[in-house]
């Protein structure tokens, strides 16, 4: 594991030592989440807060599952802000952080 960008212990526990399961989950994460992140950034750029909120809602359980602990709260905040339509500098910085941490996780997970 590289500097706690992610933590697979929850998945490993669920898999009970079945590494094929963990590998399959990682591959699925890497296949789907980058696209979702891009969509969320697009929604942000076009001021579509509702879509941003709903994508954050989808990414949320994946962040939890892969133990990307630095953004556990931020992704929830984005979901709530999107739902409530509260944009602003807070949203911008949280999205930037989520973007950065997820990208770190993508790299680290694909190199593991």
């Amino acid at each position: 594991m590289s500097d706690s960008v992610y933590d697979l212990s929850q998945l490993e526990e669920l898999g009970g030592g079945d590494m094929d399961f963990v590998n399959m989950m990682v591959a699925t994460f890497l296949e789907h989440t980058p696209g979702q992140l891009e969509e969320m950034k697009k929604a942000h750029a076009s001021g579509d807060w509702a879509t941003l909120g709903s994508i954050a809602h989808k990414i949320k359980p994946n962040v939890d599952m892969f133990g990307i602990n630095t953004i556990v709260q931020d992704i929830r905040d984005l979901e709530q802000m999107g739902k409530a339509g509260e944009s602003g500098p807070d949203m911008d910085s949280k999205l930037a952080k989520v973007d950065q941490e997820l990208n770190k996780a993508f790299v680290a997970l694909s190199e593991r």
Binding site: L14, M25, T28, N62
Partner: protein
Amino acid sequence: MRIFLLEDNELYARRLEYHLALNPENEVRRFSNANSFLAHLHEAPDCVLLDYGLPDKSGTEVLKLIKEYDAELPVLIVSGQEDVSTAVDLLREGAYDYIVKDDNTQDKIWKAINNLRETVSMRKELSELRAELSTRYDFQKIMGLSEEIQKVHKLIAKAAQTNISVSIIGETGTGKELVAKAIHYNSPNSKRPLVSINLSAIPSDLIEGELFGHEAGAFTGAHNRRIGKFEEANGGTLFLDEIGELDLNIQAKLLRVLQEREIYRLGSNKPIKINCRVIVATHRNLAQEVREGRFREDLYYRILGMPIELPPLRKRGADKLLLAKHFLSTFTKENRLPGLKLSKAAQERIMAYPWPGNVRELKAVIELACVLAEKGIIEEKDLNYNSVSDEMDNLVDEGLSLKEYNRRIIQHYLKKYQNNVVQVAQKLEVGKSTLYRMIKNKELNIN
């Protein structure tokens, strides 16, 4: 338990699927949108796990559609929203449970599914009882008063008392599946499942998977674990229809399974014990197939058990009329038609015709006649035979005298040429006087 999982978050779905499949009794199928899920709803899941927030339809809409299809199918809603009013609405609409996505979701689902198990088995038992009721009714249809069918009846009763293997031999349309049902539903295992499979209806490369099941990833396209027919029939009866159509290499595998009483799901090396009665049926002469090398001799002896031969309808004497009247009254009742009677000529025709398609053909002919009949009487002309077998064979099978065949042929031509005796006499190269004499003696009918 067959669980349909409708969840658009692929990761979440896979995680739940993995978790639920830890119980080998669970068979999980994933769907990522409502439309593909609804297209497979007829495959009879035991329960549905439904994500509330789907891309193409709301959870409420999907729940309504499921309930319209099968009001008793349990649906567990899994939602990322902790919205009490939505939850209450969904429960009011008939959702079995409402589970909020959080760290404990999978444990909650596991628990809910375990609780459901009992409900599901009660549901299954109920539908089996219903099937049993309708099968008892079906059983009446293979009844008849002829000696041949009474013999079959006695054999069914004997077979039902034990779990001996049974082989049913009979032409198409003689009611082989009804015999299998009658044996099962009158046996001590009648509460357990009766699983039927028509081996001629499945491509040979899929038969193994159907019979023995497969593990996820056993072959391309096998995304989920699937239980085979042998496992599904556990404790009950497996009915293998058209056994004579089975490929030789599958015959070898089937023989091994029947000898060892255990199966291996495709892609697994873990043996699974099986415990079900096997009933087979075929329209072929299996002994002949063995002699000609198309059927394994060892398998033949293994499945023969108690052979029950179903007589063709043409050898069942007065049963033809009995069954015709039975189909007539059932059809008129079902369709709220006024009472219909069979004319004398129609009755004679039913008795004389060789019925190559057997009871199935008789039923179809009678139902059509009920629709065509006028003035409350089914005439001979209302009986339309669309037999696919050779007309000459059928004619000869009727076993009439040459005199009667002559009469039939002349009658046919008279009808064809609008009772023009001169024309018919020329066509058939017989004397006009012969025809006039036959008309006078009422051997021919020109009305």
